[in-house]
Symmetry: C2
Subunit: 528 residues, 2 copies
């Protein structure tokens, strides 16, 4: 998906808000991880991605007994997905080293990344994201400490070249994992269902690995603060780690870096000084309101609300400019909507629903701020009226989308979440979805699956929601996921939005929401 690129966009820095963002920068926690075992990655067509990691007899503590010559490689298995820094001692054996060591180090979340996938890379995203380094070591023994941060479970050390007179040994490999939070902070789910417990654990681990100096979308790739991801991460965070400062920091970053006309970028680069991207997404902008509202609901933090309400207001004002006389949201090609990676369904009804969803939350915030909500209530009514009268097909009981009156699942889900219909009709809407549109197809992200599940829970279809969580997230576990993935389409499991599985992120924050959904809705379900 290519977003707009416009170098004419002018940003302004709100120093007061950015100062508050700096003040809430977390102190990362570090944990030393010794790789658990040596593995070999072998091709296996029965595996989803064509490769499998097979345990080798060598012990990691006796790694230095293995001497590696030109072309030899070993793969270390950390035992789980980790984010952080790697070091290893490197020595030579044989004659004195009469040439530098030429070393290739590859970090992989999945075994397949260590297969041929790198060599064949023709993905849409930059190959610079493939986590590999080529290094010359002139002097051995040497402690190799790589300066960059990696997200991985597997680390391949490949000797590109030595000389015929000496070989290489490795010892004391160590991975220093880092996160803003500790896994020890979370109570176990104890749902009584081992699969749900496992899904919850892996969700928490996914969130944990994405909680760094900001809520990152994925620690392998992008490593960035995206607003759409932040909204879901924050919800999962309230239910688990409950780290208030990190959410606050991210809200202040977005609030402090708007365009001159007050728009919020879809994401912020935070490696160094924060830089807003020149990408703007309609739904993501509105989710600033949602994230602020969710934050306020959880913490009742009036300082943050007062600081950021004006920014939230700017977002809704910008969006409402796109509402026509009939109460219809008419999107601008300069401000596209995301909803899901799939480009194969019409998203205009989703835009209508997301606007209603965010406007409702905005009105709640406006009430807290004690400003007049009347003009907003008028637009909300118009928007809702257009949705129920023009987009809802009474006959089939579903919402249509676009000039071709397409019926897609995303429209129903977002309309259900926006609660445009009264509760009983909303229940029936999702009942229809279950009857006519399940099993779900054509949806490529856990992000959209999250919204389907939420819509089911919110319309009293908890059993079906739980079933969907088990089917969808459980399927990733079956395929060997240590953390949940950026993209997954069960009916087309090796789908990549970027035309290459090598570049997909296999620990992606927006897929962590079962931890939120299960903790929020499961107790009610149990008490039935």
């Amino acid at each position: 998906m290519e977003f707009q690129m416009n170098s004419a966009i002018k940003f302004r820095n709100n120093t007061k808000l950015l100062k508050k963002a700096r003040q809430t920068k977390p102190k990362l926690l570090f944990k030393q991880i010794v790789p658990q075992k040596v593995v070999k990655v072998v091709a296996d067509q029965r595996e989803l991605f064509g490769y499998r990691a097979v345990s080798q007899p060598q012990k990691v503590t006796e790694l230095d007994r293995l001497s590696l010559g030109k072309g030899d490689r070993i793969v270390l298995d950390l035992g789980d997905h980790q984010v952080g820094h790697f070091q290893v001692k490197v020595n030579s054996i044989g004659s004195p080293m009469d040439a530098p060591l030429w070393l290739h180090v590859v970090f992989a979340e999945l075994p397949a990344e260590l297969g041929t996938i790198h060599e064949e890379y023709h993905g849409l995203l930059s190959s610079s994201w493939l986590a590999e380094e080529y290094l010359h070591l002139d002097v051995l023994p040497s402690l190799l400490k790589l300066p960059r941060r990696y997200a991985c479970r597997y680390i391949m050390l490949e000797v590109v070249d030595t000389s015929p007179k000496w070989k290489v040994t490795f010892s004391e490999p160590l991975f220093t994992a880092e996160s803003a939070v500790s896994s020890k902070q979370i109570a176990e789910l104890n749902s009584g269902d081992p699969l749900l417990d496992k899904i919850d654990q892996v969700s928490c681990k996914t969130l944990h690995d994405c909680m760094q100096n900001v809520f990152e979308d994925g620690p392998k790739r992008d490593q960035r603060l995206w607003l759409g991801d932040l909204r879901l991460q924050a919800l999962a965070n309230y239910a688990t780690f409950d780290n208030q400062k990190l959410v606050k920091r991210c809200l202040y970053l977005f609030g402090g870096l708007t365009t001159e006309d007050g728009r919020i970028s879809a994401n912020i680069f935070t490696q160094n000084n924060p830089i807003p991207d020149d990408t703007f997404l309609y739904d993501y902008s509105l989710f600033f309101i949602s994230t602020l509202a969710d934050y306020f609901t959880h913490y009742h933090d009036t300082e943050v609300l007062q600081d950021l309400f004006p920014i939230a207001q700017q977002q809704i004002e910008q969006a409402l400019q796109l509402v026509n006389q009939q109460g219809q949201v008419v999107l601008d090609s300069e401000w596209p909507i995301f909803i899901d990676w799939s480009q194969e369904f019409d998203k205009s009804t989703c835009a209508q629903a997301v606007t209603i969803y965010a406007l409702r939350q905005f009105i709640e915030l406006a009430q807290k701020m004690k400003i007049s909500i009347e003009p907003y209530q008028v637009v909300l009514d118009k928007l809702t009226k257009f949705a129920t009268e023009k987009l809802y097909n009474q006959q089939c009981g579903l919402f249509v989308s676009g000039s071709r009156r397409e019926i897609n699942i995303a429209s129903q889900v977002w309309m259900a979440l926006a609660k445009v219909l009264p509760p009983n009709q909303n229940h029936e809407l999702m009942e229809k979805v279950l009857n006519k549109m399940f099993p779900v197809t054509g949806i490529a992200t856990p992000y959209m699956y999250h919204h389907i599940c939420t819509a089911l829970f919110e319309t009293q279809h908890s059993a079906e929601a739980i079933e969907l969580i088990k089917n969808y997230w459980g399927k990733m576990l079956e395929y060997g996921a240590d953390t949940f993935w950026e993209a997954f389409q069960p009916e087309k499991p090796n789908f990549s939005p970027y035309n290459s599985m090598a570049i997909n992120s296999y620990c992606h924050a927006w897929s962590c929401t079962p931890a939120y959904l299960l903790r929020k809705y499961l107790p009610a379900e149990k008490n039935k």
Copy 2:
């Protein structure tokens, strides 16, 4: 050429001698070099190595006006060969960088190294010597300071990948050249012959670039202290930079790192703590004596003589164990002789001559040390007698070598240098060489050409020696040499001892000796 490899060899460190080596470690001199121009390397079959550097219109001062996307490259030309460290400022242009920069940097002594030569590398030496780096830069702008030292004239900056949203610019490239000496220290030759003056200049530059913390063989590859190279470098140094400490340091390093039975390694690794190689060469061991004798002749430094004479004595004693009853040196396969890279001629008569050559110098040193020279004189006579009676073919007036009584140029040259024949016969010997063996063929190194020239000068064939210098070293200039090469065979100009021109060293100390030969012998020639 594969030398012996034996992990059972035990070395002993002479701490007294090594301390003196440490005390004479030079303080390197640094010079900042701004690249002179931007060039493009183009294939050109008329060029010796198939490639040529073509000047480009861009100015180095306006480098940042060039923006480079995926696959783009620029080549900077330093204007001359340099040894040192490189830095350059890197920035992005366009949208904020949404992926790391994946950069490939290649350092080349010749344009051809930037051609396809790297990709096709199948040479005998480790590909780890090819001076290239692959780097990820996560944050731009950034000052890229590469930590390794390079020998190069050309620097290629190749953008492996960015993203479609931004490009890369470079600015303020800077190369910090380093050497133990300054070119300003040398008076010009002023021979009256522009070609000889140019050969002398390039010889001095070659030596300059190899004078680092030790006398290195070549700053591109090996980067090591070899004894055979040291002997010639020291001679050229006396005639030019006259850096006493560096020779002293290298002698102490060899003397301080012998095997338990007193043998000297052919070379020492000096990147970190000095480590002797497990390679032993018969002639190189004996050249410890020659280098010490030359040093003493030049500086009359009795402290160094007294410290190192015992080591010199060990070398001659080891060699003389190989002399049989008839006075013949019978080499051991464990202790081969080098003489030249070519493996196509018999080297046994060379071994006889080198032994005589070194023994003569040893006897001179022994006299200074006031120890009895008589037993050595006896062996010298035996060796000489065997040479004149068994190896010298009276009929043709040339020396034969090996069981097949081969007549090769190296045998004549080394016998001439060893002065086994009286002066008039020695003159005739080289006269015969000139008549029967010129133009020289089958010799692959400036190292052996140096000995041919010396033998000509020493037998009153100065004009022919000068002609040979002009033909041989002058030919490298014609091919565009900025510094003289490790290997060059005029009749087979793209010869590589390692089966790849990419791995040859194009600034190699043993090729610097015209600076010595011309300064030593030219004045006498002029005064004739």
